[in-house]
Amino acid sequence: MGALMVIFSLQPKQRRKTTDSVEDELELSAVRHRPEGLEQLEAQTRFSRKELQILYRGFKNECPSGVVNEDTFKDIYAQFFPQGDASTYAHFLFNAFDTDHNGSVSFEDFVMGLSILLRGTVQEKLIWAFNLYDINKDGYITKEEMLDIMKAIYDMMGKCTYPVLKEETPRQHVEVFFQKMDKNKDGVVTIDEFIDCCQNDENIMRSMHLFENVL
């Protein structure tokens, strides 16, 4: 009898807790960010004024508060890959865009990243890719880091692939990658090895120019 009464009296307290957390969330979302002026961004990036306008409109549409946090980033990226799980790769991508590591991507970060990817020299693009793979930013790509990235990429394919994805597929792919890139066979790939190797590879060179007409 007493037990029942105790149980019933507990319930209202839980409800109070949830309302508190909702209020907390409301406060957090009041964070806003306004980007630097258009002229400054024009000077810092290789985009024209019109292109910056288009980019900002799209950016602000999806993130009215002006900053993207990691969850929103993952959601957005996941919409492009409906069959697989893009969250791990989006996490790495987020870290690559969030150059000042403050947990959110502002419009400046976004546009800087895009400027390198779309309008940068091949050298810059390769450096960007290296930074993406180098998860702990120590200047070396180890096999574990590469394996994480590879698994993230394969996760985006999802389950329904042809041929059926096996457990060791990412690992084998990493082996191929290291065979190609790791010239001195020391188990890590440095940035010079990486850039050298990519510059000698026709496929990679050609594909670097693939997305230039994106905007």
């Binding site: 009898m1 029942l4 288009i54 980019l55 799209g58 950016f59 549409n61 999806e62 957005i76 990226y77 919409q79 492009f80 409906p82 069959q83 976004f110 990243g113 895009l114 990817l117 779309l118 693009k125 390769l126 960007w128 890719a129 993406l132 793979y133 990235i149 590879m150 990429i153 985006m156 394919m157 999802g158 389950k159 329904c160 692939t161 042809y162 041929p163 059926v164 994805l165 060791e168 597929t169 084998q172 792919h173 082996e175 191929v176 990658f177 065979q179 190609k180 990486f194 590879d201 026709e202 496929n203 990679i204 050609r206 594909s207 670097m208 693939l210 997305f211 007409n213 994106v214 905007l215």
Partner: protein, 644 residues
Amino acid sequence: MAAGVAAWLPFARAAAIGWMPVANLPMPIAPTEKNKRQDELIILNVSGRRFQTWRNTLDRYPDTLLGSSEKEFFYNEETKEYFFDRDPDVFRSVLNFYRTGKLHYPRYECISSYDEELAFFGIVPEIIGDCCYEEYKDRKRENVERLMDDQEDNKDAKLPNMTFRETMWRAFENPHTSTMALVFYYVTGFFIAVSVITNVVETVPCGSAPNQKEVPCGERYTVAFFCMDTACVMIFTVEYLMRLYAAPNRYRFMRSVMSIIDVVAILPYYIGLVMTDNEDVSGAFVTLRVFRVFRIFKFSRHSQGLRILGYTLKSCASELGFLLFSLTMAIIIFATVMFYAEKGSSSSKFTSIPASFWYTIVTMTTLGYGDMVPKTIAGKIFGSICSLSGVLVIALPVPVIVSNFSRIYHQNQRADKRRAQKMQKARLARIRLSKTGSSNAFLHSKRNGLFNEALELTQLPYKMNLSNQGNTEEEKCLSKSTSLIESQHHHLLHCLEKTTNHEFVDEQYYQQSYLEAGLQNYPSQSPSLSSQDGVTGTCCTRRSKKRHTPLPNASAPAHMQPLTHTHTHQQGLQELSTIHIQPLSTSRSSLNMRIDEPAPLNCQSSQITTAIISIPTPPVTTPEGDAHLPAGPTHQNVVKVSAL
């Protein structure tokens, strides 16, 4: 793909550069924008109110009116704007959907006008955002119910050409439809009442002969009561048989609650007829008479309130169960306590724990008969605690039952819940469908995009003889079927496929290949590493499936035969290129077989066979795909044939 996200497509494509160093295969060409026009503002004039938006905003949803070329029908040349003679207030929500990707339902809007506007603009209501979806569904349900009520009133109108059976059934179900039905209704009601009263009066002691003890009326006027009983049972039997005959679905009728009650009501009489004059079973016969009281339940056909009470009890089964359970717990606890408390006292009525149950029940329900009373002080203390807690335990679930009753009485909740569940499932199914729609769109366009494959592979060093005329035709076909954003999205997914050297397939295909992978043991299925000897080993061991049938132009000369898989070798990258493209092409040719699928129709007629003749040895292939390319590690065997 959601609206605002389309604006992020350039970002996603740029980020794809991250895959490039990892990929081992060449990437497909990016789709180019043929006539890239600057984004322009378009004016939408809706009944005089002008809305303006970018053209790209509307293009996000190409399967709606505003996003497709259907809006050209509404273009007004003189004023250079699109004129719609519709409600501007609702149009606000429609346009906001394009802008934000979320559809909202304004509360002040009438549900049917809103639905009409959505239907006009080609928007499916299922995508209403979660914030407004409940409201929308509630209003819609009310509307539907109101319509149904109106219909039910009309339903009673007699349809022409109803068979006699159907008329009878309708008369039974709706007594107010005809006078005969009404008469029948009242007659049966009267006889139910008579039968019940008879049963009751039968047991009343009525008058006695001077030297005998009182006898109940039933034994005094046996014959009269027997006649009455017979008459009632006959009426009930006839009624039951008539209902059984008229029922549209007899089996379902026999299983319904009311018919079971009918049967139980009349059965004792017949059993009694069979079993008379047998002293041994007369005891049982008497017991059977108890079942005659079930005739009173037949009144529920006549009373709506009784039916609702029955529904309430059924729907509150869980609360009633809880009540019962907690009562049982309390009874056992207190009975035990009282038993041990009263054990000491002499001449105590609490002889055992089950005997104490009676005391506990009587006390907890505040009846207090007083036939069992505690005598010790401990017993009295625990007894008072028992009665106090009894009040609480019984008072708790009762309001729940009461509110249930009122809820059912007002809203007919049970049927709604069932309908709502179906709707919810349907809605989730539709949302899932639109989500898989995007991936299906990619798979679909892949088949159409096979031309791009052929074109792109021709860029590699040693091939070609692809006629240029072929190029432009197919490109034109493709651009008709997909919008630019879609083709860019598909290109992105295509790049991912190339990076990982696996293909996206749909669920069904995956199941098939998964099963087959289980059945046939391949030496290795993953993208194989290089080894010059392993060239043919890995690629050619994969037998093509039996479901492949020869292509129509299989009669072409050997080097023109459609292969079921291909190789590409490249000079400088031997170790990488042996990762076979073969998986892609097997499925491609299997897709080829399904030529009747909705592929770009104009392009079907022009069959292109690109043949790259290899030196020195033409491959010996059969369409069945048991193809073994002669493995010469030094040969550059490059054969790619695709016939579509």
